[in-house]
Symmetry: C2
Amino acid sequence: MQWHKIFLPEITELIEQRSLKELGEFLRRLHPADIVDILRDLPSADRVLAFRVLDKAKLAWVFSLFEPEEQEELLKLFTEQKVKEILLEMDSDDRAQFLEELPADVVKRLLALLPHDEKEITNLILNYPDNSAGRLITTDYMALRADRTAAGAIEHIRETGLDKETIYICYVIDKTRKLIGVVSLRDIILAQPSKKIGDIMNTLVTRVKTTDDQEIAAKMIQKYDLLAVPVVDQEDRLVGIVTVDDVIDIFEEEATEDMEKMAAVRLPEEEYFKADFLKVVRKRATWLVILILAETLTSDLIENYTTSLTSLVALAYFIPMLTSSGGNTGAQSSTLVIRALAIGEVGLGEWWMIIRRELWIGTTLGVILGSVAYVKVYQSLGDQTTGIAVGLALLMVVLLGNILGAIIPLIFSRLGWDPATVSSPLIATLLDLSGLLIYFEVTRRMLSI
Amino acid sequence: MQWHKIFLPEITELIEQRSLKELGEFLRRLHPADIVDILRDLPSADRVLAFRVLDKAKLAWVFSLFEPEEQEELLKLFTEQKVKEILLEMDSDDRAQFLEELPADVVKRLLALLPHDEKEITNLILNYPDNSAGRLITTDYMALRADRTAAGAIEHIRETGLDKETIYICYVIDKTRKLIGVVSLRDIILAQPSKKIGDIMNTLVTRVKTTDDQEIAAKMIQKYDLLAVPVVDQEDRLVGIVTVDDVIDIFEEEATEDMEKMAAVRLPEEEYFKADFLKVVRKRATWLVILILAETLTSDLIENYTTSLTSLVALAYFIPMLTSSGGNTGAQSSTLVIRALAIGEVGLGEWWMIIRRELWIGTTLGVILGSVAYVKVYQSLGDQTTGIAVGLALLMVVLLGNILGAIIPLIFSRLGWDPATVSSPLIATLLDLSGLLIYFEVTRRMLSI
């Protein structure tokens, strides 16, 4: 249901008629994500009108859904008072994410608008390392004491819950703010009203440290089907929580990262059009130059076989077919193994079973592709021996490609490196070199050239 | 915090001592996901003991977390009565996912154990298309009537909430089960106790149809930060809900699917070791054979330039360097564009901006890689003109690769096909052909051979 598309004409009309009251009522009913879609379609002047009728909590939410560049633009539309309101209403994680993209002087000016405690929190979050769980925390969590009753807890939640990011999961802390338990609103509601929180809470709390990688928090939430995971400091004191909605975006980012690595193109996290041209070129060129330098070795290798080539120039015809088949097979097996490692379908301990499996698959694929090559060569040259030689070389290259594609990610993983760094081009280049060597050696011996 | 590793020794001891009571208390405190980890490490006989002390709700949850093959094994450990209990306690989506993997006769036997209404629900879910939202629904959602008061609703939730998958989001339906609103437990709790649900509910309910793709449900939950999305039939009647925890797995599956397509290897959804050997070979071989058949065209092409090759055999030296550079560049740009399209960073409407951007990036990369090639050729042959000819050909191939890598996914997307189907090997093969043509034509003309 694309509410924003359904309502855009109506909203445009309300703005044109300057019916601010009805516009306000209208926008109040819409989800902030829909409001963002609508605002993006409106001319800048009309946007200001829409912003004016939103209450401050919703305005802050809408604002936090825009991209950093859009936020910077929007800032110019607001008075300092409005900016202050928005900043105060934003969730602490959204505020930190907004500020981290801005120039230092703007950040300083904006932080000065905040009261002391909010400024502290923001500085704290911004000081955690990039991609750490600490960067994602919201400090607006629901904390309870163990000696409250269930009924008392519901009362407390009713009174203080309005500003919390979630009230469905409550964290129980002791006097030193150490995390001692977790209790869901569900358990509180279903419990006897007189029961103590300490008696219904779960004391085995899954938690992550502020310095842990965001992926750990994400995997935690996935494994335990959590709505949020608590984040503690080195002394096990509760600092904030990371909620499931932030984690979904992480899974998408991690997958993008892995895909880019596998294609030997690791870009900054910016969106496609927002990534800086020169940065993109530099990052892409680095990999391409490394690969072409490695590939120059193939020319030296082929040069060594000038005698073979001059006595049978047809050997050159099949070079691309040979190298590409090896590379394609290697790309397949490495993708399968890298992905299986990334999502935990296979572990390093199973390395031998993986290799054995890819050995058999590689042999079967090699026989199939080698036969195709034999037919092609025989068709082109009418010579059976050359056909067999090329077909056999191709079988060996495909088998080698399949094994290398599986083994190299395993080795990377064993060395503690990210297996996704094993890009398909890297494997293809390795196979170009080893494949050509196999090709020229097999043909030289079998055809006595 | 890896609770299962911390507690495994203690649990093994309790089992050895046959201290079933303490074992039960111990397991009650652990999360089902941890219990699964522990059970996997136990010998089969000890597993039965652990299962015996779990209460039926937790047993069903633990059971649903095992893989289909493990579930089939576990079934043999249980009495028919136990199996019936587990099936009844399982969430309807987990039950359907478990049953869909079993042989038809086993499914029939198991379904016979269920009471009529549960059997109906399960059959309904199993009849939705593969990968549709209907396959993921749980029917244990919290439904409310609009004329209840907030206090009455809380009472109702307290009485009936125990079996619901979530009580945090309640759906308001009319007498014909049409979905007319949604209200969060948060809003109910924070509202005046005497307020009517009809007055606090949101009537603009985001929803998906049972037949919609699961990815649509996932994107909905991501966009609106939902805990669950309601699923309705063609008449807009509420059938069930899809919860956020199921959706996280979808994002992972979709990413795996895209990566596999990009490496020209699309496998069934089974895990790495569980995929059938012959199926894997057939699927992989299909692509590899298509690619090698396309690649045989390169041999015909090179054959056409036998004259060039016999007068300058050195031309063969640089074939792999040339084809691999084009393929690598194309793999980079296609990966970037495919991923940007998949996660919605760019739209088809921006096609011209994408091509313009990749045109400039391609030119820059071409100049860099062409220069490397020039140096290499000059170094090998000591001939400037050949160096310039090869360098120029390489520049053109890199530029072409970069553009094709961006354009082909856009064309696929425009035709309504999945852009991820544009695999890097496909682009590499196209570039091998066009690249060799450019190479031999440029060198033939410039070197007059």
